[in-house]
């Protein structure tokens, strides 16, 4: 065994347990004769242990709902209502502005990355939450609007639905294909919850109301000059249409 047998890389690989048994023995023989290196490696080993101890608690924290929602699988391309596919196709055209990085990544055209689908999923995830339904409570409405406007890059308003008995619970920020999106939640006296999903629209196209229904949750979807909106709730088509009109009017005021 000669001195040149052991390199600095070998020493680190020894600390990280990345050596084969034969090489491990070789390094151990070296360390027996070189106490300085042995002390150094002991310190590196302690660093690894301290790092793991320091940050281990993060692994035990419950994963926030936002992150689980962000990892929600895109749905299978088939097996859904024709209405949904039409809406998805429309939504895909509407969010064409997102095509910038999509094209860069040579991402195959996949209409599932659509606003309406995500809005319905997000609706289902968050209306079930008791304590963490929203990130920012309605009591902090000014902050909520400022914050979401900043993230969306345009000033947004919270629709006023009190005339229909729905009060604002609060809101949160969601990612949708990498685009910041705001979700506002409303609740009436019976505890029925609605969500309004607002995403910046960089296209000029405006659309009329379109209705979609997926797994019992209905949504109206439309696009104005600045934003794409999805109103979602399990209140039936007629009930939801009244609210959609109110949202639309409220935003126009």
């Amino acid at each position: 065994m000669t001195v040149s047998d052991v390199t600095e890389d070998d020493l680190h690989a020894y600390v990280d347990g990345a050596l084969a048994a034969a090489d491990q023995a070789r390094v151990e023989a070296w360390l027996a004769e070189h106490p300085d290196d042995a002390a150094r490696l002991a310190a590196y080993g302690e660093q690894n242990a301290a790092l793991r101890e320091c940050f281990a608690p993060v692994l035990d924290e419950p994963v926030p709902g936002d992150l689980l929602a962000a990892a929600m699988p895109a749905p299978a391309p088939d097996g859904r209502s024709i209405w949904f596919r039409i809406a998805a196709a429309i939504a895909f055209l509407v969010i064409g502005g997102a095509g910038g990085w999509v094209a860069r990544d040579q991402w195959v055209a996949h209409p599932d990355a659509d606003v309406a689908e995500f809005a319905l999923n997000a609706h289902t995830v968050y209306i079930a939450e008791k304590r963490h339904a929203v990130e920012v409570q309605a009591a902090e409405e000014a902050h909520l609007v400022r914050w979401l406007s900043k993230r969306l890059g345009k000033t947004i308003k919270t629709p006023d639905l009190i005339g229909l008995g729905y009060r604002l619970v609060g809101g949160r920020l969601l990612p949708d294909g990498g685009r910041p999106t705001a979700q506002f939640m409303y609740e009436n006296e019976e505890g029925v919850r609605l969500t309004v999903y607002v995403q910046r629209n960089d296209q000029v196209t405006e659309t009329a109301f379109r209705f979609i229904d997926h797994k019992g949750v209905s949504a109206f979807y439309w696009v104005d000059e600045y934003f794409a909106y999805v109103l979602a709730g399990a209140v039936g088509r007629e009930g939801l249409l009244d609210v959609a009109k109110e949202v639309h009017q409220s935003l126009a005021r």
Binding site: E8, D9, H12, A13, D16, A18, R40, A43, Y44, E46, Q47, N48, A50, L51, R52, E53, C54, F55, P57, V58, L59, E61, V63, P64, D66, L67, L68, A70, A71, M72, P73, A74, V102, D105, Q106, W107, V108, H110, A113, H143, W147, K150, R151, L173, P175, D176, G177, G178
Partner: protein, 169 residues
């Protein structure tokens, strides 16, 4: 075989831990991970398992971090000060050992490149080749960052220990 989606979800705790160790507070770390997941899900259909899901996700997270670090440190400044103060208080309350506190403080004093290399390997257990993929440099560069970073950490922690001893006398 575990689905791709499931593999992504399984990595979330590790992505969060890495982001926190890089120095982001809890809120900012989760914002970063959320952005990482949003991008990953958008590209998941096109993803081919040439490497591990972990190294792919860490690559996305790492690039987001590097971009932020480089151009816009302000982008995650979205919460009111009171919220941040509350987070800091919660962190201060947690009782951690001396060595653990030292390593955390020492981490802040080395370069971002050394820090991320050490964390990917020493904390997250990535192989040298995976760490090279994630950070976008050759393995040789990973090895030299690892060696320099570890030595720097050792110096800082030795100094800290000496000072503590001197104060105790």
């Amino acid at each position: 075989m575990i689905s791709k989606e499931r593999q992504v979800i399984d990595e979330i705790p590790h992505l969060r831990r890495y982001a926190r160790a890089l120095g982001y507070d809890k809120t900012s770390a989760d914002d970063l991970v959320q952005e990482c997941l949003a991008r990953a899900m958008g590209r998941l259909h096109a993803w081919q398992p040439t490497g591990t899901m972990r190294s792919w996700l860490f690559t996305i997270l790492h690039n987001l971090h590097v971009n932020l670090h480089r151009v816009d440190k302000d982008v995650f400044d979205i919460y009111p000060d009171s919220y941040l103060a509350e987070r800091k208080a919660a962190q201060a309350d947690s009782h951690t050992g001396l060595l653990v506190r030292d390593v955390n403080a020492a981490l802040a004093q080395i370069s971002d490149e050394q820090r991320s290399t050490i964390l990917l390997i020493g904390l997250e257990g990535l192989t040298y080749a995976e760490a090279a993929t994630v950070t976008g440099v050759p393995v040789g560069t990973v090895m030299s960052r690892l060696a320099r970073g570890r030595e720097k950490l050792r110096e800082i922690m030795d100094q800290d220990a000496e000072q503590t001893l001197r104060r105790a006398r």
